[in-house]
Assembly symmetry: C2
Homo-oligomer: 225 residues x 2
């Protein structure tokens, strides 16, 4: 039995403006699924007929680069996944994999398009989301290519702390190899930098458990190198 979308906890500002008719369409034409940690939610190269709404959990957007897998970014619910594919060539250009257990809604592209066309607010919000992502991409790419490892590692730790976990102490949601793919470096370097930061008293590392002890230092490292 499907949930009633109108009463979904994860109504965004935009979706809350939808008409009853649109909510009806959504409620009838979506598919709720759960994924376990490590499961593939969206598979690069596959034909896609769905938009995915991530209701709960953490996921990584990643793609096959020329030499190795690249993690573009971690995303946190609630958010849409696969929007660019929906409006692009319908072939997924990237994969999305569950990093924690997740709850997900699959929405058929045609239903999504219909709702989009009927709701100004909604389509505007999608435009905003896509735009923000593009700008974010530019900045992220410039940082990754120009900064060196310590700077990028500092950024990732700050992002985890501020954007994803909203806490100074958290558990790393991905392995050091994955961190390396996110930060464009090698697994060994990730390890070294993490332990350097620990020895310098900037963070406390205990297995996957991280505590940020000196945020000011991290910000400095992020800026300098």
């Amino acid at each position: 039995m499907q949930n009633d979308c109108k009463n979904c906890v994860f109504n965004t500002r935009a979706t809350s403006m939808l008409s009853d008719k649109s909510f009806g369409q959504l409620s009838e034409n979506h598919l709720e699924l759960r994924f376990s940690k490590g499961d593939t939610i969206i598979k690069q190269g596959m034909f896609s007929t769905n938009v995915v709404f991530l209701r709960k959990g953490l996921a990584k957007i990643h793609l096959t680069g020329p030499y190795h897998e690249q993690i573009v970014r971690l995303v946190k619910a609630p958010t849409y996944l696969g929007l660019p594919t929906t409006f692009g060539d319908k072939i997924n250009q990237y994969s999305v994999t569950a990093v924690t257990d997740t709850d997900v809604c699959y929405i058929d592209v045609r239903v999504f398009q219909t709702i989009l066309n009927e709701n100004r607010e909604f389509s505007n919000d999608i435009l905003i989301e896509l735009s923000k992502n593009e700008l974010e991409s530019f900045r992220r790419c410039a940082n990754r290519t120009q900064k060196q490892i310590r700077g990028n590692m500092a950024d990732v730790l700050l992002e985890f702390s501020e954007k994803i976990f909203q806490s100074d102490s958290f558990t790393l949601p991905i392995s050091q190899s994955e961190l390396a793919n996110l930060v464009d470096t090698s697994r060994e370097s990730v390890n070294r930098v993490l332990n350097e930061f620990d020895k310098d008293g900037i963070i406390k590392v205990n297995g996957k458990q991280i505590e940020i002890l000196n945020k000011k230092s991290l910000n400095l490292i992020s800026q300098n190198g």
Copy 2:
């Protein structure tokens, strides 16, 4: 005196679907401008109240990175500029600079939004453009960070040849330092690689004049290293 937008040569598939009313609004609320090579069309950090339509010419999208200027990509008319800013926070997150002399239309954001709301085809095309850009960004970023200089230089040369000039011989539209900022390397390395390619008979370099002699080799270098 303003041009009639309906008869604009650079009507895209999407704009050609606009209603007469929308065309009227466009014709009355746009501003045609020319820029000379090197002029700033959009300035990072400035508040923006316009969408820019590049009618003629070549421009570079670039932004201030943590250590130096970064060229995100070269764009060729006809195309929109500044869309992400329009739907984002209205502060330009990047600059756009004329690489050749350009013709440009400034369209007030509010007029643009109105037209967008009234024309399904049009807004859909904008969604598609934004989506393609995002996917393109992912790929580009993965390539730049994973490949090494020869590979990236090969890519840029192929892109110039295929996407921008549609010819095997062309004049480099930017200096070697700018190429370096586009390819994420140093000016010296750009120079060396260019001359290496020349010595290997892959391209012929004569000042800023480039002729691609062996496209197959370039593609191989792009893939391997």
